[in-house]
């Protein structure tokens, strides 16, 4: 359970939007996290490793800066056990690469440019994720 935080939610969404616009404006790229991360793995197609690491370094620095600026730690609650973490992580990695994007690339950037592929992918993964939580919590009655 978590509390409704519309102000923080909108402000965070705005920052994500600005990040996507900045990246497209300066480098001509989609702000897709799975794309940046997965292309650090073989087979290698280009020499953009440092650019990709720069995006990941920005992500990693964010919670540190957030804590310094707000004085509050970032809330993080993970109740899943190791076997579930392993299975879910593998599925997220597999699905994002085979589908050419994740919540950022398809869900934000692709949806924003009204890409048909992204609109379909986003609808499917949203619906399936909602169904998965429904089955886990209300049918199987797990955590």
């Amino acid at each position: 359970m978590s509390t409704f935080t519309p102000g923080f939610a909108a402000a965070g969404g705005a920052l994500i939007g600005f990040a996507a616009i900045l990246l497209m404006f300066t480098t001509g790229r989609i702000a897709g996290v799975s794309g940046f991360v997965s292309r650090l793995l073989p087979p290698y197609e280009d020499r953009q490793t440092i650019v990709r690491l720069a995006f990941i370094a920005g992500l990693l620095l964010a919670p540190v800066l957030y804590r310094l600026a707000s004085g509050e730690p970032v809330a993080l609650v993970i109740t899943s056990r190791v076997p579930l973490l392993l299975a879910a992580g593998f599925l997220v990695g597999l699905g994002s690469v085979l589908g050419g994007g994740c919540t950022s690339g398809h869900g934000v950037c692709g949806t924003a440019r009204l890409s048909k592929r992204s609109l379909v992918a986003t609808s499917v993964f949203m619906a399936v994720a909602i169904a998965t939580v429904f089955v886990a919590r209300h049918v199987l009655g797990g955590q």
Binding site: G17, V74, I78, F90, T111, K116
Partner: protein, 150 residues
């Protein structure tokens, strides 16, 4: 300049994840749990992010080229196939099970969270497997195309 701009973009993106709570799997699962104690906060996050990006892209695409690169690198928008739908469904199951997608999982690594480390290692294994599958599929296609040409 590309490296600095990409770093700043990653930083803004990560701050957005922290501020909205998208980095927190418990909040993500509350957002996905529409039949339970539903927390719609992250619907506002997604909607705001999409609207702002949509407006910003319209201005950016009025330029012929990006500021620090030779061209825009836009992935294909059309070509919805079974692979896309199956892949999105696989992704959705994983996302729903734990509440992590790639951006938040990577960001959570610097919160010294060992479950995030476990998740990211498995995610990298999944990504690596998928990249090998795609590369193999591509080389098979090339081979059969060459075969047809010769």
């Amino acid at each position: 300049m590309q490296i600095i701009a990409t770093f700043v973009s990653g930083l803004l993106f990560g701050l957005g994840l922290c501020l909205s709570g998208l980095v927190n799997p418990a909040k993500v699962q509350s957002f996905l749990d529409i039949a339970g104690a539903w927390d719609p906060s992250l619907a506002i996050t997604m909607a705001t992010a999409v609207l702002i990006t949509w407006a910003g892209y319209r201005i950016v695409f009025a330029r012929r080229v990006p500021l620090f690169a030779g061209s825009f690198q836009i992935p294909p928008s059309s070509g919805v196939d079974a692979r896309l739908i199956a892949a999105a469904a696989i992704f959705g199951v994983g996302w729903g099970l734990v509440g992590f997608c790639p951006g938040p999982a990577i960001t959570a690594l610097s919160l010294a969270s060992w479950p995030a480390v476990v998740f990211v290692l498995a995610m990298l294994a999944g990504m690596g497997t998928a990249r090998q599958l795609v590369a193999h599929h591509r080389s098979e296609m090339l081979r059969s195309a060459r075969h047809l040409n010769s």
